[in-house]
Amino acid sequence: MFEDEEENIPAISQALNISLERQEYLRRERFGKISVRMTQILLLVLALVLWEIMADAKIIDPFITSQPSRIVKTIVQLYKEGVLFYHIGITCLETIVGFTLGTLLGTFLAVILWWSKFISKVAEPYLVILNSLPKIALGPVFLVWIGAGPASIIVMTLAISLIVTILEVLNGFWGIDQEKIKLVQTFGGNKFQVLTKVVLPASFPTIINALKINVGLSWVGVIVGEFLVSKAGLGYLIIYGGQVFKLDLVMTSVIILGVAAAIMYQGVVYLERLLVKNNDLKY
């Protein structure tokens, strides 16, 4: 029973019911994953170092492009002034309110259009036009109408995300297997029951998908809104930095924006995994 060490390894893997081929396969998979991640990190570090060195060597003008060390300095300074989290918080809050409201309101309006064929037919050309119209053009109108404040910014994000949500969710509603609806009807289900028992739960993945799209759109809406309102938030810092030629501030805000947007997107992906566990997309 007690052979030398080398002989023991296959014995162990046999006991664990893992063949040598499988171990080799798993090792290769793991190695593949690690090398992708390492390359990603390396690229980022390389870009930051190159940026720093080229700015120091005046190959690129740090006044315009800024540089990593200046960005870190700017962040520290904003933190010391006590406004860093204030601006990040305001922008994030506006974005979250924007995409949540956009998704809920869009779904609600899609339900109305699904409910009444007449309304949806009447609304169709308007939706098509509104969908292709660059809603940002309406920014100044919202500003004057609603006033320079968060409300205008949220209306801006709604203007951008609402129509897309309605069209996306409505398409999802119409794409539901008619036989599933018939099933509810054979049990004597009315239209409201068709909505609550089939249409809404079956469209849940579509609605979550719309939410994901809206996260991106809300960032656009919020930043444009903050450009116009110019009171607070990362969009305000960008516009302000540009006006007073503090391009370090602009770059810093853009970097923070990128990180915040990535974190928020991951949050929604996590939420999706949590909620859409047993509701896969194969219908």
Binding site: E179, K180, T186, F187, G188, V198, P201, A202, N279
Partner: protein, 254 residues
């Protein structure tokens, strides 16, 4: 007692391109506890006929009576089985089975007990907390039948109820569902385009003509097989004879 009486049913579909007569002067009746099958070429209005019997559609003319009562809308007497099981992926088997009761607002202790007994009898009780995608095709079809049976319908309408299954599963599910229907002593109307399936399961076969669908012939099926299960009956000597006859009546041209 006649469970179903179909009297002079005609159905016309309207569209901008014109009028389509799907069914014309259909008349037949089904006895309590009888298993009747309706066959016909595709597009002859078989499914339309079932929708009319169930009250989902109202016919252009004619009437349907269920145990002497005129059909005006969907009724609790009818249980409808569709082509696919349509179990909802976001509900567990138990929640799926309760769907009909929820819609009819009939979730009572007795109904739950009935569901429990049905699940136990047909071997699905230990799967009640699983989701549909964890079950095999045959088990899913059984779960769908239980979902229909818990609402305690007297008449089952099977609309191509097996055609989404692969052939082997289909033969097994035929036997399965047939024995459940017989054991629970229900009346059944099966719509199918599969001649063998209809002969193996039905007491009577109604053959419909091409569109507009009319009753072309009604066959009394008498098979000499000892143990009356659909699979066994496929071995009966009369089987081929019925098959030939119905095949000719369907008048299929490719």
């Amino acid at each position: 007692m006649k469970a179903v009486e179909v009297h002079n049913i005609s159905m016309k579909y309207q569209s901008l391109n014109g009028e389509i007569t799907a069914l014309k002067d259909i008349g037949f009746s089904v006895q309590d506890g009888e298993f009747v099958s309706i066959v016909g070429p595709s597009g002859c209005g078989k499914s339309t006929l079932l929708s009319i019997i169930s009250g989902l559609l109202s016919p252009s003319s004619g009437t349907v009576w269920l145990s002497g009562e005129k059909v005006t809308g969907t009724s609790g007497k009818i249980g409808y089985m569709l082509q696919k099981d349509h179990l909802f992926n976001w509900r567990t088997i138990w929640q799926n089975v309760m769907l009909g009761l929820e819609i009819r607002k009939a979730v009572t202790q007795e109904a739950k007990e009935r569901a429990r007994i049905l699940l136990k009898t047909y071997g699905l009780y230990e799967f009640k907390n699983r989701y549909p995608d964890q079950l095999s095709g045959g088990m899913r079809q059984r779960a769908a039948l239980i979902r229909t049976l818990v609402t305690d319908p007297q008449i089952l309408l099977l609309d191509e109820a097996f055609s989404a299954l692969d052939y082997q599963t289909r033969l097994a599910v035929n036997d399965d569902i047939y024995s459940i229907i017989k054991k629970e002593n229900r009346t059944a109307i099966l719509v199918t385009h599969d001649i063998s399936e209809s002969i193996s399961m039905a007491d009577r076969i109604i053959v419909l003509s091409k569109r507009p669908g009319m009753v072309k012939n009604i066959h009394e099926i008498k098979l000499s097989c000892s143990n009356r299960t659909p699979l066994n009956c496929r071995e009966a000597p009369e089987f081929r004879h019925y098959f030939q006859e119905i095949w000719k009546e369907l008048d299929v041209h490719v």
